[in-house]
C-alpha cells in the first residue's frame, strides 16, 4: 500500500510563515511570527506548545486554510513545492482531503450528525474522482479493519451519534486516510479521550501512518504522547519556534528553558512507596470527614433508590491534614462522590460524618459552621467565578459570610489570600475575564481557603489547564497543604497527578470501589486488575513505551472493552484479563482487606494479583 517513497522528499515546508488575526478595528495582531519547519515523507513531526501558542493555526496552514478572522501575513507554506497560502479555494480543492487530510480534536463535532458515517468517510476521494464508489468503499472497509473497529462491515452504515467517542475518533482517521493522502494533519486527536482509549487510538494512528507511508503533522500539548508517535518535535511558544529537533534529542536533553519546563511538568509515576510524606503533625484520631456505605445516584426515587444509581457501597474516610485521591475514568462517579460530600446530592443510603459527628445529608440542613468546614473547588474556573464580580468581592464574600469581616480587615485578608495563591494584590480590582486560566483557578482555590475550611474538595482542578500551568497549581496545592494542614479530596482521571499528591487513593470503577488504600500500597502489587490497567496506561515520555505497553495482557483485553454499569457481578468483568467466567460475572466480588488497610475488591486471591 505504501507509496513509492523517495525517502528525503519534503512533503511540507513552512518558510518564515506568518499569520495574523484581524481585529475589529481593522488592525492586525500577529499570531504566528515567522515559523520554519519541514516534514519529509514517512516522518511524523509534532507541534507542541500550550493552548494559544498557535499550533492549530500553523497546522491548518498546511491545507491553505485560515480560520475566519485570521489571514496569511507573510512567508510561505509549501506543500510539495506549491505555496498553498497563496492559492484560491478552487485551486486548493484538489489538494484538500486528497493530498492533505485533517483530523480535528473532537470527532463528535467534526462528523455531520445527519449523514451516515460511510458517506462522510468516502466523500473526498469520490468527489475528487480519484476513486470510484466501489474502490472507496473497499478502502474504507480495509481501514475499519486496520483501525480495529468493532463490526467493520456495518459500522459505516451508522450515524455518528451511534458509535462511541473513541470509535468516532478512529473513524475520523479512516475519513482522513481514505484518499491516501501524502500528509496527515492531526490536531490533538486524543486529548478529549480517557487514558485507556487514548492508547488504543494512538496505537491505531501510528500503525496506519506507517502502513500508508504518509507524512504527518501531529499537534498536541502532551509531551508524553509526542514521544510515542513523533520523529521530530517543534516546540512552540507564543507563535514562535523555541526549539526543534529529533524526538530522542529533545526528550532526553532539552536545551531551551521552555522545553525544560515542559519536561519537568510531566510527573513520572512515583515508584511504589514514594508518595510524598507530609508528616503527621496535624493528625488526630477522628477523621475529618467520613462517608459510610454510600449509595447515591440521580433521577426519580423509586422504592427509596434513585432510578439511575451511580455509587454503590462506597466508604471513604479522610484523616486530618491528609489527602485522599479519587481516580477513575470519566463517568465512573468521581464528581458524584464529591457532590455527596458537599451535601449537593443527598445519598440514598449510608451516613456522613464530620469530625466524628453525624452530618446531615443535604446541605440545606447543615449548619453554617458545618458548611464552612467543607469547601468545593470546581473544575472549570470560567464558570465557577461570577463574571460580574470583582476578585476582591469574590474572595471577600466568604470572609464576610463566615467570619463577619468587613472594611480594612476584610481587605487585608483578601490580600493575604491573594498572596497565599501567589497572585499580586492588585488583582482584587480585576474581573475574572481579565485573568488567565491558571490565575482563575488560583482565585477559585483562594475562595475555598477564605473560609478556613477543614476539607477542600478539588474536582479535576487541573484537567482544564495546560501542562505547565497545571503543574504549578499542583505545587501550590502541596505548599498549602503543608502550611495550612487542610485535608484535601483530590479528584482526577489522571493517575500520575493523583499519585503525586494523595496520601490515600480510592480507585473507582463504574461507581464501585475497585481498590483503596495508602498510595504506596495501591501503587505496588498486589494490584486490582483495573488499577494495573490504569497504571500501565499512563504514558511515559519515553520512545517505545507505546509498543511495550500495548503488548501487556491488560492492554490486550482492557483497552477496547466497554464499561458495564448494570452488571450483577464484577463491573470490570468484560475488560478483565483474569476474569473467571461463571464467578466474576454472576457474583459481586468480595472485599479483601489486608493489615495495612489496603482494600481490593476481586474474586482472585491477593497473591494471584501480585
Amino acid at each position: 500500500m505504501a507509496k513509492q517513497t523517495h525517502k528525503d522528499e519534503i512533503i511540507f515546508e513552512a518558510k518564515n510563515l506568518q499569520i495574523s488575526a484581524i481585529r475589529d478595528d481593522g488592525s492586525e495582531l500577529p499570531i504566528v511570527k515567522g515559523v520554519d519547519f519541514n516534514v519529509k515523507r514517512g516522518e511524523v513531526v509534532a507541534l507542541i506548545g500550550e493552548s494559544g501558542s498557535g499550533k492549530t493555526t500553523i497546522s491548518l496552514a498546511s491545507l491553505g486554510y485560515c480560520k475566519p478572522g485570521l489571514k496569511f501575513a507573510g512567508g510561505e507554506a509549501l506543500f510539495k513545492g506549491q505555496d498553498v497560502s497563496k492559492m484560491t479555494t478552487d485551486e486548493l480543492r484538489p489538494i484538500r482531503g486528497e493530498k492533505v487530510a485533517y483530523l480535528a480534536q473532537s470527532a463528535a463535532a467534526t462528523f455531520n450528525p445527519s449523514i451516515r458515517i460511510n458517506e462522510q468517510v468516502t466523500e473526498a476521494p469520490i468527489l475528487h474522482k480519484t476513486k470510484t464508489k466501489e474502490q472507496a468503499d473497499k478502502k474504507a472497509l480495509e481501514l475499519y479493519h486496520a483501525l480495529e473497529l468493532p463490526d467493520p462491515e456495518n459500522i459505516g452504515n451508522r450515524f455518528p451519534h451511534q458509535v462511541s467517542g473513541g470509535q468516532l475518533q478512529r473513524l475520523m482517521a479512516a475519513m482522513a486516510l481514505c484518499g491516501d493522502p501524502d500528509l496527515l494533519v492531526l490536531d490533538e486527536p486524543t486529548t478529549a479521550l480517557d487514558v485507556t482509549t487514548q492508547i488504543e487510538v494512538l496505537k491505531a494512528f501510528k500503525a496506519v501512518i506507517k502502513q500508508q507511508g504518509a507524512a504527518a503533522i501531529y499537534v498536541t500539548h502532551d509531551l508524553a504522547v509526542v514521544a510515542q508517535i513523533a520523529d521530530h518535535i517543534v516546540v512552540l511558544y507564543n507563535g514562535e519556534v523555541k526549539e526543534a529537533g529529533p524526538t530522542d534529542v529533545l526528550i532526553n536533553s532539552p536545551q531551551h528553558p521552555y522545553t525544560k519546563r515542559l519536561m519537568e511538568a510531566i510527573r513520572p509515576m512515583p515508584e511504589a512507596g514514594l508518595g510524598e510524606d507530609v508528616g503527621d503533625e496535624h493528625l488526630r484520631d477522628v477523621p475529618v470527614l467520613e462517608v459510610n456505605e454510600i449509595d447515591a445516584g440521580y433521577g426519580k426515587i423509586v422504592n427509596g433508590m434513585p432510578s439511575s444509581l451511580i455509587l454503590k457501597d462506597v466508604n471513604v474516610s479522610i484523616k486530618r491534614g491528609k489527602t485522599v485521591g479519587i481516580i477513575g475514568e470519566s463517568g465512573c462517579g468521581k464528581s458524584t462522590l464529591a457532590r455527596v460530600f458537599a451535601g449537593l446530592l443527598p445519598p440514598a443510603n449510608g451516613s456522613i460524618a464530620l469530625d466524628g459527628e453525624v452530618l446531615a445529608p443535604s446541605l440545606k440542613q447543615r449548619s453554617h459552621e458545618e458548611l464552612r468546614k467543607i469547601q468545593f473547588v470546581y473544575q472549570m474556573a470560567d464558570t465557577a467565578l461570577n463574571p460580574r464580580q470583582r476578585i476582591g468581592d469574590i474572595l471577600g464574600r466568604p470572609l464576610e459570610f463566615y467570619h463577619g469581616l468587613s472594611g480594612k480587615k476584610k481587605t487585608a485578608r483578601v490580600n493575604d489570600l491573594l498572596e497565599m495563591v501567589e497572585l499580586p494584590s492588585q488583582f482584587a480590582q480585576r474581573y475574572p475575564h481579565e485573568l488567565s486560566g491558571g490565575q482563575k483557578q488560583r482565585i477559585n482555590l483562594a475562595r475555598a481557603l477564605a473560609s478556613d475550611p477543614e476539607v477542600v474538595l478539588c474536582d479535576e482542578v487541573t484537567s482544564a489547564l495546560d501542562t505547565i500551568v497545571g503543574a504549578n497549581v499542583i505545587e501550590l496545592l502541596k505548599r498549602l497543604r503543608r502550611d495550612l494542614g487542610v485535608s484535601f479530596v483530590f479528584i482526577s482521571h489522571d493517575l500520575s497527578t493523583v499519585a503525586s499528591f494523595a496520601d490515600e487513593i480510592v480507585v473507582l470503577y463504574a461507581g464501585r470501589v475497585a481498590e483503596q488504600g495508602p498510595t504506596d500500597q495501591v501503587l505496588s502489587p498486589p494490584y486490582h486488575p483495573y488499577t494495573r490497567l490504569l497504571i500501565s496506561s499512563v504514558p511515559e515520555p519515553r520512545v517505545g513505551w507505546l509498543e511495550d505497553m500495548t503488548e501487556t495482557k491488560e492492554a490486550v483485553s482492557g483497552i477496547s472493552g466497554t464499561v458495564d454499569i448494570d452488571a450483577i457481578g464484577c463491573p470490570f468483568f468484560k475488560r478483565c484479563p483474569h476474569a473467571i467466567t461463571g464467578t466474576c460475572d454472576t457474583t459481586a466480588p468480595p472485599r479483601q482487606i489486608d493489615n495495612n488497610n489496603h482494600i481490593i475488591e476481586c474474586h482472585l486471591d491477593t497473591k494471584d494479583l501480585l
Partner: protein
Amino acid sequence: MLPLIIKRLGIGLITVIAVSLIIFLGTKILPGDAAQIRLGQEATEANIAAFRARLGLDQPYYLQYINWLFGFFTGDMGTSLASDKPITELIYDRYENTVYVATLTALIGVPISLALGIFAAMFPGSLYDRFLTMISVSLVASPEFLTATILVLIFVFGMGWGNAVVVGSIEGKGFFELYRHFALPITTLCFVIASQLIRMSRAAVLNVMNSPYIEMAILKGVPRRRIIFRHALLNALGPIVNVVALNLAYLVTGVIVVEVYFGYPGLATLIVQGVQTRDFILIQGLGMLFCLTYVILMLIADIAAFASNARLRHPK
C-alpha cells in the same frame, strides 16, 4: 421519537383546552348580557329570560363551556347575536377568501424568502447580504399598514393597477387572474412574512455554516454547492421548517391588519366586526378557529424539528 411526538401532541391538546378556556372565560367577562345586546334596551324581562334559555345561557358555566366546545368541534358554533345567522354560515362565506389569500401568500412568499435568506447565508458579510439584512430589519420593524401604503402608492398610483380595495367574486379565475385580483393584500402579506423568514432562515443556515463539520467539509475540499446542499441544508432543514411554520402562524395575525386595511371580506374583518358589535358568540367561534390554526402550525413546527434530527430518527 414516537414518544416525543406523542408527548408533544399531548401538550398540544392541553394547550387547545387551555386556549378554549381563556377564550370562553374572556368572552364571559363581557359587560352586559348577550340577551340584552341582542334584544336591545326595550326588551322585557320575560323576553330576555326566554332568549337566555334558548341560547342555553341559564345553564351553569361548565355546561355552557362543554356544550360550546362540543359544538365547535362538530361544526355548530351557535347563532350570531348581531345577524341571527348561524356562525358557521357567516364563516363559510368568508373562509374561502382568507384561505385563498393565505395559501397564495405562502406559495409565493415562502419559497422566495427562503431562497433569499439562504443565499444571504452563503455569502455572509457580502454587499448583497448587508443590503438584504437592512431591508428585512426595516421591514420587521415597520407596521403592516406602512408596507401596505407603500405598495398602494406603487401599484395603484404608480402603475395604475385598478383600485386599492378589492371586493368581488373569486369564482372561475385562474392563478394569475386571482393573483392580480388579490395582488395588494397578498404582496403586503408576502413582505410581512418575508422580513421574518429571511432573517430567521439566514440565521438558521448561518448557525449550521459555523459548525465544525462544515469546516471539516471545506478541509476535505468539498465544493461549495455540495457543502450548502448536502452538508448544511440537511442540518438546517429542521430549523427552517420550524421557521416556516412559525411564520405561517404569524400570518394569522398579519392577515387581520391587512384585511382591514384593504377592506377585504375575509375572516379577519369578520372578527373585527364581531368585536365592534359585541357579538361574543362570533368572537368565541372565530377566535377559537384562529387559535386552533396557530396551535396546529406550532405543532407542525415542533414535529418537523424532531423529524429532521438524525439523533431522534435513528436512536442508538
